[in-house]
């Protein structure tokens, strides 16, 4: 039960994008197309899971003072691995993500989870935390990319959604669209949370 909670924590309750607000740069940059969003989500999740596992293994004998450089080296090694694999087998995706592949190293989610979770918990819990956070990150990316691709290009996975005559709002795939979509989605998330809490409070009052 407890482990299940660790897993689902990152997906919704502590979603890395909408709640912790970490790792915004790749989120805004690659969410112009669903395909790229999924690619980025998988790449970042892989690095997150692997670095969480390794860091929770080495947390016992890494001196506290130099833990951050050690974590960064672990993370960077996996990023290089991802970079080389993408370059070898998925060239179009590698070109689409461009500079944001090496920048996974400084994605705050990964170092943030290493520092906040993996350096304090066991291997299994860290693995589950990595999976949950990775899924939450990917989910947020895909939601954003879906909105931006449909509104901005009138496409979903490269296929037409509405008839050709439907005017696409190009601003949504340009940089401003990314900021606007993230802002509005965050607002909706907070609104939904407040609404549920109010409902719960009212229900408790009724019982009394």
């Amino acid at each position: 039960m407890n482990q299940f909670k660790v897993l689902t924590n990152g997906i919704w309750k502590e979603n890395p994008i909408f709640v912790i607000v970490l790792g915004m740069c790749p989120t805004l940059a690659v969410s112009t197309a669903v395909e790229n969003a999924i690619g980025m989500g998988i790449a970042a999740s892989f690095v997150l899971i692997m670095s969480n596992i390794i860091i929770s293994m080495i947390r016992g004998f890494v001196p506290n003072k130099i833990r951050i450089p050690c974590f960064i080296v672990v993370i960077a090694s996996f990023v290089v691995l991802v970079e080389l694999v993408l370059k070898a087998y998925f060239m179009p995706l590698y070109q689409a993500l461009g500079i944001f592949i090496p920048l996974i190293v400084v994605n705050c989610i990964i170092l943030g989870r290493a520092e906040a979770f993996a350096s304090k918990n066991g291997v299994m819990a860290s693995f589950l935390d990595g999976v949950g956070m990775g899924l939450g990150f990917t989910l947020a990316l895909v939601i954003m990319a879906t909105i931006r691709e449909i509104l901005g290009l009138n496409k979903f996975f490269g296929l037409l959604v509405f008839p050709k005559e439907f005017p696409a709002a190009a601003i949504m795939i340009l940089p401003p669209g990314g900021f606007l979509v993230v802002g509005i989605l965050m607002g909706l998330y907070v609104w939904n949370k407040n609404r549920l809490r109010l409902k719960q409070l009212n229900a408790e009052k009724m019982k009394c």
């Binding site: 915004m24 740069c25 500079i99 400084v106 802002g183 509005i184």
Partner: protein, 194 residues
């Protein structure tokens, strides 16, 4: 030569602004833009580190290429930047305590600012030479600071505004950034010497 440097300078500040068009350094951008003073402090620290990091990583890249180990770029760059930031922090603490007081708390945050690693990687992918790299690093830092300071000014005013409850804090900051990005989109049509 001078014209192309000027082109890089203007392009990195306005046309390819790090925050509004390249999406680099968003975390410190929304994190440190609540107060004008701290925004200026952070901006100065970023300009300094980005300029120096551009120069250092350019040299490091030449060494990596010479020995044919270009694929180590990511690991080496992040380590060099982290070590450099640590060194600057210690150097300032010993020699210029006043500057350390002003920049001190922002320096460690810069290691994980993707704008610094971003400009280092961009200098390589854009095939900049040594002087161009330094200019690009410096002007990208200026562009980041400009965006940060404008945002901080707006957010200080926002304290007194009547915002819908769900949008308070982060969400409204992103929506403002979106509106500012629309304004910066206006620079995209500028023709600059390459």
């Amino acid at each position: 030569m001078l014209a192309s440097l000027f082109g890089i300078f203007i392009a990195s500040i306005f046309v390819n602004n790090f925050v509004f068009s390249r999406f680099l350094g968003i975390c410190p951008y929304v994190g440190v833009s609540k107060k004008l003073d701290s925004a200026i402090g952070m901006g100065m620290a970023v300009i300094f580190v980005m300029t120096m990091a551009s120069a250092i990583t350019w040299g490091v890249q030449q060494v990596l290429v010479k020995y044919g180990i270009g694929y180590y770029q990511t690991i080496v760059f992040i380590l060099v930047i982290a070590a450099f930031v640590q060194l600057v922090e210690m150097f300032f603490q010993k020699t210029i305590p006043a500057l350390y007081q002003a920049l001190g708390i922002y320096l460690p945050l810069i290691t994980t600012n993707c704008a610094v690693l971003g400009v280092a990687v961009l200098n390589i992918t854009d095939k900049r030479n040594f002087i161009e790299s330094i200019v690009q690093g410096f002007s990208s830092g200026v562009g980041f600071t400009l965006a940060l300071v404008i945002m901080a000014g707006i957010r200080e005013r926002l304290e007194f505004a009547d915002i819908p409850k769900s949008l308070r804090g982060m969400p409204i900051a992103f929506i403002i950034a979106g509106l500012m990005a629309i304004a910066f989109l206006g620079f995209a049509g500028m023709k600059l010497p390459r």
